[in-house]
């Protein structure tokens, strides 16, 4: 496959892996967080960990929109969908995200709610057009990558004069979450912050550019290397991070130059700014309530806001107390350090959000990497 296979080449991977091996000092550990679920997926799917020396460790971050969606918002979507006049349109990944009392959109659908899987906001607009008697609600989620398509859907609905279309807005922003990881660990959280650098977002950065990460390098002295989602991209970014650490630098570097600039996509940014404004505070699963971390519709577009239209209210919902998703999303714990991991919580019966999406830290480890534990076990048994 042209333009894809080149970024998955085993021989090139070996070359980069050897270089990481050569440059990583044996007298210290290197701990990096890949922020995005897309990176987590690539690392696990291609077995990148096997190519890294033992002292270079990757910590899986919270950049999976499905994973950070809190239970209360899932409950809200289910409540909305139970309204008999509503057709709720959602991306496929959302169907199995657990809400309260082991509910999910998939279960609500089986119970009779009109919930449909869509591939894009355009599908939802089309349904609103062809089924004028239905109240079509688009369950909008995601980071800066999926926000512009939602903005365009609102513009399109306005242009077409659709009065039966609205969105349940859960769009969140990347930089506040990165800041929360850096701050949370140094303030309220007891666990020391182990992260020494970030593999920065790929698709998100195509929209927002690399400039928003500059405070993390400048103020927190953490290097950030923005990288593409292919395994060679990630490997190269890790090498660049190792070099920065060795040289005592903390800079924002761009490995993903084929798609990302410092300033990002001005048109997409303008579309977001036109339609959305920043919410005062928003709940993230695992990270709690973060100030100025999410978006809602501007008052001029409030007629498209499903929350107002259907009088939806947030009811507090608590995650299973044994679930360690929070610590895992902050990089403070590894999936296997959670008591529920692989026993009560598996991709078939997810309890925590990290197990739901293939991009979640727990699901990626369970699906692709859990054989490493049995290998470690074997080694221990032999010893």
């Amino acid at each position: 496959m042209k333009y894809v296979d080149e970024y998955r080449d085993g021989a090139l991977a070996k070359g980069i892996a050897n270089e990481i091996m050569r440059q990583a000092r044996s007298d210290r550990a290197y701990r990096f967080m890949e922020f995005c679920g897309g990176h987590t997926h690539a690392i696990s799917r291609y077995g990148l960990e096997d190519l890294l020396p033992a002292n270079v460790q990757m910590i899986h971050g919270p950049g999976c929109p499905v994973c950070v969606l809190p239970m209360a918002r899932v409950d809200m979507a289910i409540a909305c969908a139970r309204n008999s006049c509503v057709t709720l349109c959602a991306y496929g990944d959302l169907m199995r995200v657990p809400g309260s009392h082991s509910s999910s959109l998939l279960k609500a659908k089986a119970e009779g709610a009109d919930i449909r899987m869509v591939y894009s906001t355009l599908d939802a607009i089309r349904i609103a057009e062809t089924e004028a008697h239905r109240e079509v609600v688009f369950f909008a989620i995601g980071f800066e990558t999926t926000t512009p398509p939602t903005a365009l859907a609102i513009r399109m609905a306005e242009r077409k004069g659709l009065t039966n279309f609205s969105i349940l807005c859960n769009h969140v922003m990347t930089p506040p979450a990165m800041r929360a990881i850096l701050e949370g660990a140094s303030e309220g959280d007891e666990t020391p912050l182990l992260i020494e650098g970030f593999v920065g977002p790929a698709h998100v950065s195509t929209i927002i550019g690399t400039r928003p990460y500059e405070p993390f390098a400048r103020d927190y002295r953490k290097p950030v290397v923005v990288a593409g989602f292919e395994p060679l991209d990630v490997a190269q970014a890790i090498l660049m991070l190792v070099r920065q650490i060795n040289e005592g630098r903390a800079e924002v570097e761009n490995q993903y130059v084929r798609a990302v600039t410092r300033e990002g996509n001005a048109k997409a940014q303008a579309a977001i700014a036109e339609i959305f404004e920043t919410r005062e505070s928003f709940e993230w699963r695992g990270l709690g309530f973060l100030p100025s971390s999410a978006l809602s519709l501007r008052p001029a577009f409030s007629s498209y806001d499903a929350e107002a239209r259907f009088g939806l209210e947030t009811k507090p919902a608590k995650d299973n107390p044994a679930c360690e998703c929070g610590a895992i999303l902050r990089g403070a714990k590894k999936p296997r350090e959670c008591k529920l991991f692989g026993t009560l919580c598996t991709p078939d019966t997810p309890m925590g959000s990290c197990m739901v999406s293939p991009e979640g830290a727990c699901s990626a480890h369970w699906t692709y990497g859990r054989f490493r534990e049995s290998e470690a076990q074997r080694v221990r048994e032999v010893a």
Binding site: Y46, G47, P65, T146, P347, D348, Y368
Partner: protein
């Protein structure tokens, strides 16, 4: 005195639709069976018009299977629900190393279904049965109200005969056995999915729906002794098949990603849809687990058959109490190839 016979109107295959009378047991049903199914499946047993068919039983081990087909869309590049039902049932029989003998077919049809489509489906199912030499010798037709079924569902059964002494079993894989795949993976699922989602690619991706009894006959003739088990990796793809076998045989698998054939256009479509070809359904491929001794003869026999031309050894059976399917990726790392959790759903970003 013989009364004048009423004029028998032909079914309107241009604009006509199935209505409830076609399932009511009256003359309309008789005509539907005669003009659609008997016409398409024609054989001496069906012409007998009994509620069952009788046949002689030869020596050897009888094999029986049943299956239901509910694919959507019912017409897809490379086949339709009729050819799929025929080939799928034949393949389930063939995976026992057996020669398919007879099939049955029950149609559940939604009121309003175009007669032309029904005819087209019946013709392709009849053709699949004819190619395999396994006539459809009994069947049933039901019509349900609009909305109570999705266009048409086909339920089948099939019987076949396996050579005496050939006991393929999903519990029979042993460490050091080899895993042989008959060809490219993911074609069927991607063909259906791209039709469902109206995706167009430069080259049309065709379903691999095909009857595997001929390939199996070659394999049995060449190296029956080394065959432990065969499976056609349909729903859930190669990943599900290997995981099932690992659990049933209480072993693990070690496979090589680079050895698994995938068409470039299928790989590209999977990339686009966020799917893994290993999880995508096939309808004309088989996985054989074979003892290492005669594996090369087996592979050569497979490659000499058109449906096995791209056959490859993709890995081997290993001892593993966890029953993992481990894969060395083309990138150079290792990973598990797991069952899917729920449906395979496209990623959102």
């Amino acid at each position: 005195m013989t009364l004048e016979k009423p004029v028998r109107r032909r079914l309107d295959f241009k604009n006509g639709r199935v209505d409830l009378s076609h399932g009511a047991g009256g003359r309309a049903m008789g005509q539907l069976i005669e003009d659609v199914f008997l016409d398409a499946f024609d054989n001496e047993w069906l012409r007998g018009a009994n509620d069952q068919s009788a046949f002689d039983v030869a020596a050897g081990r009888m094999v029986m299977t049943t299956d239901a087909y509910v694919v959507s869309p019912i017409f897809f590049p490379g086949g339709d629900i009729g050819s799929l039902a025929g080939n799928g049932t034949i393949n389930d029989i063939a995976m026992a190393g057996a020669r398919p003998l007879y099939l049955s077919a029950s149609f559940v049809i939604e009121e309003g279904f175009p007669l032309a489509d029904l005819k087209r489906i019946a013709v392709s199912m009849g053709e699949a049965a004819r190619v395999a030499g396994a006539p459809i010798i009994t069947g049933d037709t039901k019509v349900v109200e609009r909305g109570k079924a999705d266009k048409v569902f086909i339920s089948t059964a099939g019987v076949g005969i396996a050579p005496a002494g050939l006991n393929l079993s999903s519990e029979a894989a042993r460490p050091d056995d080899l895993v042989i795949l008959s060809g490219t993976v993911g074609d069927h699922g991607v063909a259906v999915m791209s039709k469902r989602e109206n995706l167009e690619f430069e080259t049309e991706i065709l379903s691999d729906s095909a009857p595997l009894h001929g390939l199996v006959a070659e394999m049995v003739a060449a190296a029956a002794v080394s065959l432990r088990v065969m499976r056609d990796p349909t729903r859930g793809g190669l990943a599900a098949t290997l995981n099932e076998l690992a659990h049933q045989s209480k072993v693990g698998f070690s496979i090589e990603e680079a050895a698994i054939p995938v068409r470039p256009e299928v790989a590209a479509a999977c990339e686009f849809l966020g799917l893994d070809p290993l999880n995508v359904a096939n309808e004309g491929k088989l996985v054989a687990i074979a003892a290492p001794e005669c594996a090369q003869e087996l592979l050569a026999a497979m490659r000499s058959h058109p449906l096995g031309a791209e056959a490859a050894i993709i890995g081997r059976v290993v001892e593993d109490d966890n029953h993992f399917v481990e894969m060395r990726t083309a990138f150079g790392g290792g990973r598990i190839v797991d069952w899917l959790a729920g449906e395979q759903l496209p990623r959102i970003c």
